[in-house]
């Protein structure tokens, strides 16, 4: 065949394949576009959605807030990434939230949101989310939808298996996807097997204010720990962590970490860990990490550097941890609402393996071990397994539950959601996803009380689902009705960043409790200005502090003179409004910074280093009233050493 012929045949093949795929897609979506699907997701103007959905931002580092069933985006909450839209990470108050042992890091990769729980039920108080790249866990307060706290996880690389929660929010857990030398050391990468370890971290959550503290870490062999799930009901007191790369390869993992037929799910008895800690088995080891949290009344971050962490070693703590062999490089590990079944997504095996918690306890009692791995007892697969779901599609990753006896597993390679029955392990339904589903989410689907009405498929590929926006496309979420026997596709909606996991919760558990304003009387910001009478400008050497107020529709002061090139100017802007939905913005021409967006009753600070002589305007950026365009002021900047006095 000559070159031209080959090209022609090639083009024909591509077209044929495309047509085939389009045709299949069309056949597979009978419900889409039909009027019953439309009415099922229609939320009339002014009406509210039934559920909140919180989607991780993935490489955006943020957290998306959507309504279900409409799929409407309400807000993107900045967590690990700076956000010029509201000044998060830019203004003086929130900068320190992003402080780490490596310095101020303005970005991360957020994967798994996890709602707080009381008695195994999501309670709408807080939502936690992991930072994958520079290991961190954040807590977002669901009263004001702001990031309230970020804690760095020491002795970790790739904080992927995180922050899964225990039944009463006693702990959120974290595990190292990338094992690293602990403590960090200058060693050859090829010495992986000798020098690299993993850690499983248990971060205690204060039940009153949600504050996090790394209670203990368990030192484990240097595998890749992937995901986790808290025990519940009978398995409350245990946590489960999936792992791959038990081969301990350090190069070309796609081949070298895919050799073993089974890797492990680690079962950790954290109640026993507490006992060992009380007995003094914990080793206080040097570490370096930051704990940052927002002080509620000053609206300012407090940043603490921590210098040690308590570590437990399995060899010194018998019964603390067991390995459950699970095929093959398992990804998700998900405990069902009853707490009896521990479901491992096979990933590289077309099977979902379901371990039984009660059988596991029996196997431990009967010492059904097939050996040990790095000093950790490995249980006999046949002694713990309750059943296998076969023909589950290729690349089974994650499983959620509807609370009605069914489980739903995502299959990445075959792009589908597979519904199967707990106990009989039979597949009862399957529905395609468009395309390449990763996580899936049922509101409460990872807790003891799922609200099994909707399922959201979180897809990795978008391709032709929306109007094209060039090479970069929004990721596609899909809403599936799971209230009946057969799953029904209702809606596609685009998402921000790359959602990995998501959480859903009835709106009633959050909506009525939200903060509308911050009370001025409670503002304890050191640079607050609680009335216009106190508005002023003060010079301290080359630092200038502007105590500024905003109210519809003026700044006080609005004209400032006596600033010099070389000064460091801090605009401390207090929003005197006490009315819901009236933030004021503040933007300064030439400031190498973002804007401020100051909520009613709060104080935010913009730092500005004027570089040029002249008169420069500032203005309100958030359309606040009919006279918003009048809300402005000027700063006169004189040369360094000028005699122009401070005036305002």
């Amino acid at each position: 065949m000559n070159k031209t012929m080959m090209r022609v045949v090639g083009v024909i093949l591509v077209i044929a394949t495309f047509l085939l795929i389009s045709e299949c897609a069309k056949k597979d979506k009978p419900i889409l576009g039909s009027s019953d699907a439309a009415s099922a997701v229609y939320v009339a103007p002014g009406d509210y959605d039934e559920f909140y959905a919180f989607t991780s931002g993935g490489f955006s580092g943020q957290l998306g807030v959507y309504g279900l069933p409409s799929g409407r985006l309400f807000r993107e909450i900045p967590v690990f990434s700076v956000d010029p839209e509201n000044g998060y990470g830019f203004n003086e108050e929130t900068k320190d939230m992003l402080k780490t042992s490596f310095g101020h890091i303005p970005w991360d990769d957020s994967h798994h949101p996890e709602l707080s729980q009381t008695d195994g039920v999501t309670d709408g108080r807080w939502i936690f989310i992991n930072g994958n790249n520079t290991p961190r866990i954040a807590r977002i307060d669901l009263k004001n939808f702001e990031t309230a706290e970020i804690i760095e996880i020491p002795n970790s690389g790739g904080n992927h298996g995180s922050p899964f929660i225990t039944q009463n929010s006693e702990y959120v857990v974290a595990s190292t996807r990338f094992s690293v030398p602990i403590p960090q050391a200058d060693v050859p990468i090829s010495s992986y097997k000798e020098n690299f370890s993993g850690t499983l971290s248990f971060i205690k959550v204060n039940p009153d204010d949600g504050h996090m503290n790394i209670e203990f870490q368990i030192m484990v062999p240097g595998y890749d720990y992937d995901l986790a799930s808290g025990g519940k009901g009978p398995s409350h007191g245990w946590a489960f962590f999936s792992s791959y790369n038990t081969e301990q390869a350090n190069t070309l993992l796609e081949v070298n970490a895919s050799k073993n037929d089974k890797d492990f799910i680690a079962a950790v008895n954290w109640k026993l860990a507490e006992k060992y800690l009380a007995e003094g088995k914990g080793h206080k080891q040097p570490a370096d990490y930051y704990h940052n949290y927002m002080d509620h009344n000053s609206h300012s971050a407090v940043s603490e550097q921590k210098k040690s962490v308590t570590v437990l070693y399995p060899a010194e703590c018998p019964g603390l941890i067991y390995y459950l062999p699970t095929p093959k490089s398992p990804h998700g590990v998900d405990v069902d609402p009853s707490g009896e079944y521990i479901v491992g997504g096979g990933k590289l095996a077309a099977v979902v393996s379901v371990h039984s918690f009660s059988k596991m306890i029996k196997a431990i009692e009967d010492e059904k071990f097939i050996g040990d791995a790095g000093g950790i007892p490995v249980l006999d697969y046949d002694a713990t397994i309750a059943g296998e779901v076969t023909n589950v599609g290729l690349g089974p990753l994650h499983t959620e539950f509807d609370g009605k006896g069914y489980a739903y597993t995502s299959a990445f390679i075959t792009s589908e959601v597979v519904k199967w029955k707990l106990g009989t392990w039979e597949i009862v339904d399957r529905i395609p996803s468009y395309y390449s589903i990763g996580h899936l989410m049922i509101p409460g689907g990872g807790s003891m009380k799922p609200w099994g009405k909707y399922l959201v498929a979180l897809n990795k590929m978008t391709k032709d689902r929306y109007l094209s926006t060039g090479p970069e496309l929004a990721h596609a979420a899909q809403l599936i009705d799971i209230s009946g026997e057969k799953m029904k596709l209702l809606l596609d909606f685009p998402t921000v960043g790359e959602p990995h996991y998501a959480q859903g919760i009835p709106a009633d558990l959050i909506h009525p409790n939200t903060t509308k304003i911050y009370e001025l009387e409670n503002n304890t910001h050191p640079y607050r200005t609680l009335s216009e009478k106190e508005a002023r400008v003060e010079r301290k050497g080359n630092e200038v502090h502007v105590y500024m107020t905003t109210i519809r529709t003026h700044f006080k002061p609005d004209n400032i003179e006596g600033i010099q090139v070389g000064d460091v100017v801090y605009f401390h802007v207090t929003n005197l409004e006490q009315d819901w939905d009236i933030p004021h913005g503040f933007a300064m021409q030439g400031a190498i910074n973002s804007e401020l967006l100051v909520m009613p009753g709060a104080t935010n600070t913009l730092r500005w280093e004027p570089k040029k002589v002249g008169v420069f305007p500032f203005y309100c950026t958030d359309f606040c009233s009919a006279l918003h365009q009048e809300m402005q002021g000027y700063v006169r900047v004189s040369p360094k050493g000028s005699k122009v006095p401070i005036s305002f």
Partner: protein, 150 residues
């Protein structure tokens, strides 16, 4: 022409439909007379909100002093005593408005601005709606006492 006829017809139908019988007319006569906005005479005079008719005793200086403090914190950004700022000047306000009207304006500005014809007219003059400043009923009463001293 056709359009006009059509509109007249529609209007006639609406009128017929809504005309009601004698009983409804009788009911209307018995009910308190409402303003075109659907407010009672009392609401026109004393405002819409949690405060009904309020009769004031002699001036309470301690309460007025407390009111001045709250006023400094919550009100001065928009109100001066003798000149217009965001809102109108407040000197002599207690002689122009009833005590309940003033307190309802402080406590329930949103509804006042939306429904009260005189407050609506003020919005057209000042452009920025009066805002609730998160004050309690006690605070509002203290502010009223302070305003009596002006």
């Amino acid at each position: 022409m056709i359009k006009k006829t059509g509109m007249v017809l529609v209007a006639a139908l609406i009128l017929m439909n809504c005309g009601g019988g004698d009983t409804e007319a009788a009911k209307e006569a018995a009910a308190p007379k409402l303003s075109p906005e659907g407010l009672t005479q009392e609401q026109i005079k004393h405002g819409i909100g949690p405060i009904g008719v309020l009769t004031l005793g002699p001036q309470d200086e301690a309460l007025a002093a407390k009111g001045a403090e709250v006023f400094e914190l919550k009100c001065v950004a928009c109100h001066k005593i003798n000149e217009r700022l965001v809102g109108p000047p407040l000197a002599g306000i207690t002689t122009k408005r009833s005590p309940a009207f003033i307190m309802n304006m402080i406590l329930n500005p949103d509804e006042m601005v939306k429904k009260h014809p005189e407050v609506k007219a003020m919005l057209a003059e000042f452009y920025v709606p009066m805002t609730f400043q998160n004050v309690t009923e006690d605070d509002a009463r203290a502010i009223l006492e302070y305003l009596r001293t002006l």
